[in-house]
Symmetry: C3
Subunit: 266 residues, 3 copies
């Protein structure tokens, strides 16, 4: 898995400009995460400036964590423009399954253009596949290891994209191959926006590699970052701060020492 460290090096060299249309809760969080890892974030949602911004951006991240009709139409327009401009798009269907609006908006965005990576938790991806959403608010619930693998594969084929089903163990599939990531730490569940951070980081990685390896790299790197942050700070406020420190500090040697990624037969 040499390509994970390699991808991190490329992100820091290229400093991809990642355009984000994301939720109010995590705008600061994800901007700081992108800066800390060495990418360059921008947040713009006005329809009038989407094309200008996407022309200079290297990737688009769309996160539906806080929605209303205005933002939905902005997200749709951004997905269309980015698809035309061949900029890779990452979609985070936050809360799909919790409300019909979220499920439908995520499905609409999957239709609106070329989504490179879809990242969600177990309940969210399940809801998008039309099964009864076990989502409880925006938390992961009802996670099942065996089923998560299946979910990633099925969703990847159904939506013709790369799907990352994240949870205690992450499964990433493009419908043909499957990667499994076992890095991470439960304390991530005690800080808001850590799922959104991973999605944003995928935006940085997909600017320099293909979707399956890009999303796996983001999950592995952030998982390792979380492990180191917890070693230094086992409480959520300090842990949160250390996440940015370690996004900045993580390097090839640390990845080599800590990485728990494997490919499995689908």
């Amino acid at each position: 898995m040499k390509w994970i460290a390699e991808n991190l090096r490329k992100v820091r060299e290229k400093r991809p400009l990642v355009q984000n249309i994301t939720n109010f809760v995590v705008m600061n969080t994800t901007a700081n995460a992108l800066l800390a890892i060495g990418a360059s974030p921008v947040m713009a949602h006005a329809k009038e400036e989407l094309e200008d911004m996407l022309r200079i951006a290297n990737a688009l991240v769309v996160n539906i964590g806080t929605l209303d009709e205005w933002w939905i139409s902005s997200m749709e327009k951004a997905v269309k423009i980015a698809s035309e401009l061949k900029k890779p798009i990452v979609l985070d269907p936050v809360g799909a399954g919790a409300t019909k609006l979220r499920t439908q908006t995520a499905l609409k965005l999957l239709e609106a253009g070329e989504i490179a990576i879809l990242r969600g938790n177990f309940g969210e991806i399940k809801a998008l596949l039309g099964e009864h959403g076990k989502t409880r608010g925006v938390d992961s619930a009802g996670y099942d290891k065996e089923e998560a693998l299946n979910l990633a594969l099925t969703a990847a084929k159904e939506f013709n994209t790369t799907v990352a089903v994240t949870g205690p163990i992450d499964y990433i599939s493009n419908g043909k191959k499957v990667f499994v990531v076992e890095n991470g730490h439960p304390m991530l569940g005690k800080v808001t926006g850590t799922g959104c951070i991973v999605t944003a980081l995928m935006g940085a990685f997909v600017a320099i590699d293909e979707p399956l390896r890009a999303s796996t790299s983001a999950l592995a790197v952030f998982g390792i970052v979380a492990e180191k942050a917890y070693e230094e700070a086992p409480y959520p406020g300090s842990f949160h701060v250390k996440l940015y420190d370690w996004l900045y500090r993580v390097d090839e040697a640390l990845i080599e020492e800590k990485v728990k990624v494997r490919e499995i037969e689908p």
Copy 2:
């Protein structure tokens, strides 16, 4: 006051889902505070999804810290739906008295449904009672100990709800009983959104206890948290971080050691 530690235990056991319609400044802050104490936050404001979300939520928190006509109508709708669904509602009238829009919006929300807890500072609650608002922006000003007690009692009767007037000493009343909380620390005034954190925590507590004890529990627990945070970090940035650490760490023993809550004759 055994019920304070008891209530904290219940919050952590039940992990209530608290639906927040709050201001842009503190969305991240209050979501992290709710996670740290062991509750589960969700932020949703689209009118189309309010009912779906409130059906699975255990409480609603409405905070008017940043307003516009769109958000006001969303808040009104949420208060109506939550009332019909018998979900307890906490209202934070941020900045009432500073502008007519804020005073009127808070009064409108008090009319729109069944508010379980109204939490504000001295100037805000005073403004809602029609007296000249001494509010200066969103800060507390003109606080007076004797008057604060009276204010809590009068407002509780006037609005037929539980009112928490917070400041150097907090007075909480349901119009019949009065609790006084003397926990807390002045450094809270140097971090934005600490009042909003208490309001959000009341949302978690009111999901598992009646309004008077719920709001008193939130104030006592967060006051103790602030005292511990200050012991470790006497400057605002680090203090802010430690608030989340201590929301996670606070336990029965610490509450027993530190709590300064008493009931007084109204």
Copy 3:
């Protein structure tokens, strides 16, 4: 440069109320920075309450970091009202040059009223002067020391205001005089909203001194704060936290020891 420490003392004595219409990414960041230095922030953007809020405010800060038509009209109205009320206005044209919408909005706001201070990075101010924007997203790019000085002078004359062109070295001019600030630290570039913090601090200082000295004071004080923060915490998450600590701790003695401000011939 005795007036820098003097200005800090005045901010803490007067605690100016700074009304902010700013972007979603940094609302929490700038509110906390203003509180930490001793000022009092308020965030209000509803057109119906702008006049009420500006009447009690001591300065207005407008930051175009996240835009849409609704917010643009609110910013315009705020600039007009503040001008009529003779409240000093600070404008941060975030991302001017990156999109036409941002360049045009900044120019429109410069026309809409009396702007006391315009603070931007090299590419942003250049774009406002009609030259090809070298802005890359919202980062500074294409910075050139000689040219930065010229840019500050030219823009100050062109827009008839005080202009601060910030970067590795900051140049501040009112068209007649020029100050140079060499305080600061490159780690500021790894935390989102640090430029927006300086703009917000200028709002506090311009409430107690004239624009040229006010903006220079803000840049010097925050530069020193960044240097101290970096001494204690050389990684972005912890560094960010220490910024608020040092905004609170910075005092006359520290300013005297560290300040690198000089006046140069234009």
